[in-house]
Symmetry: C2
Subunit: 215 residues, 2 copies
């Protein structure tokens, strides 16, 4: 009995939480990704360290690294998580609306909801990461820039659709309009995060309403 107990312990020594099923491993990976994405909104994608992330998750560094292979792969996974959340929280909310002005309004409304929401510790990850990586090259900077271009294109598509459908004045400059809408969102995120000033959300909604008043 004593020998048996010892034997079990000896096995356990090399298998603290091992041989997990693929589904269990996937769950662990998702928990890591969610945690690193949120931590990065405060500390930055470079500022997060594997050691502190692992401690936060009550795992070993090697346990974390095993899912990604490198810190860069971990950062890329965090960006992808940021994109998934953004898509779910913003695009998916507006997608059911008819293309054009209605959908554009819904996109801006959901975007401001998302920015005002406190589910991120330090504001929108993609915005923070854009500022952190905008002077660098490599796959992380590329992924962030590509996402920003995509989002810009989506907004412009809806704006142009609205102009073609005469929902907005025929002489509306779609690029300028979208530039102004993106500027509002960026400014809202800035004032919310730096100053905790929640009044800016209402202000931005009012300005957006003016810009999207329609014909």
């Amino acid at each position: 009995m004593r020998a048996e107990a010892f034997s079990v312990q000896a096995i356990a020594k090399f298998s603290h939480m091992p041989r997990r099923s693929a589904a269990e491993a996937q769950k662990t990976r998702e928990a890591i990704v969610q945690r690193v994405a949120d931590l990065a909104t405060v500390e930055g994608l470079e500022g997060v360290t594997v050691g502190r992330l692992a401690a936060d998750l009550e795992m070993s560094k090697a346990g974390v690294m095993g899912h990604f292979g490198s810190k860069q792969a971990l950062q890329l996974a965090a960006i992808e998580e940021g994109e998934r959340i953004f898509r779910r929280r913003v695009w998916d909310q507006a997608e059911p609306k008819r293309p054009g002005l209605r959908r554009l309004r819904a996109l801006i409304s959901a975007w401001l909801d998302y920015l005002a929401d406190t589910s991120w510790s330090g504001g929108c990850l993609l915005t923070a990461a854009a500022s952190e990586f905008d002077g660098r090259s490599g796959p992380i900077a590329e992924a962030i820039a590509a996402q920003d271009r995509l989002w810009n294109r989506i907004l412009q598509r809806e704006a142009k659709q609205a102009i073609e459908a005469s929902e907005l004045a025929a002489d509306t400059d779609a690029e300028r309009l979208v530039f102004q809408l993106r500027a509002l969102a960026l400014m809202v995120n800035h004032d919310l995060q730096l100053h905790g000033d929640e009044r800016v959300v209402k202000r931005a909604r009012a300005i957006a309403k003016g810009l999207l008043a329609g014909n």
Copy 2:
């Protein structure tokens, strides 16, 4: 002769560039501050390390640290340098103009000049630092937030002056106007740094012109 040469070397061994005058030490300090401020626009104020900064300046780490005492003091000095540059490049350009609409226009014009300028490696330090530190507490975050509030107040003072002088419509919302102007600048910096898109400068000038059209 040989002994004398040896003696000189022996002294040099413990005095590589020592006993500098206060003026020389001040010059060295300024060179460090300028370099760290510029590096921080790309790597972040946390991303800059004393070791790489020293190597970049061809100094020892201790030589750099001696001027500041801690990395945080070095970061604070970088922020102060960023404020000095911003004041010189933006506020000082507009200050000679008459208060009100003229000065407000000059401030925005100089601001966009400053953002479009390539003298920083990675865009406006204060903007980058605001994003980096907005989720944190401490003296660095405080200094950045205070500077942003000050700049906001300056713009609002000129906007209100313009409204009182009937240079802008009496029903103009100064806070909303300034919010829109700040949003333009933030968006310009974002698109310039992330996408290298220089068209946004002209676009922002056109939008600002519309916002500041006057009576």
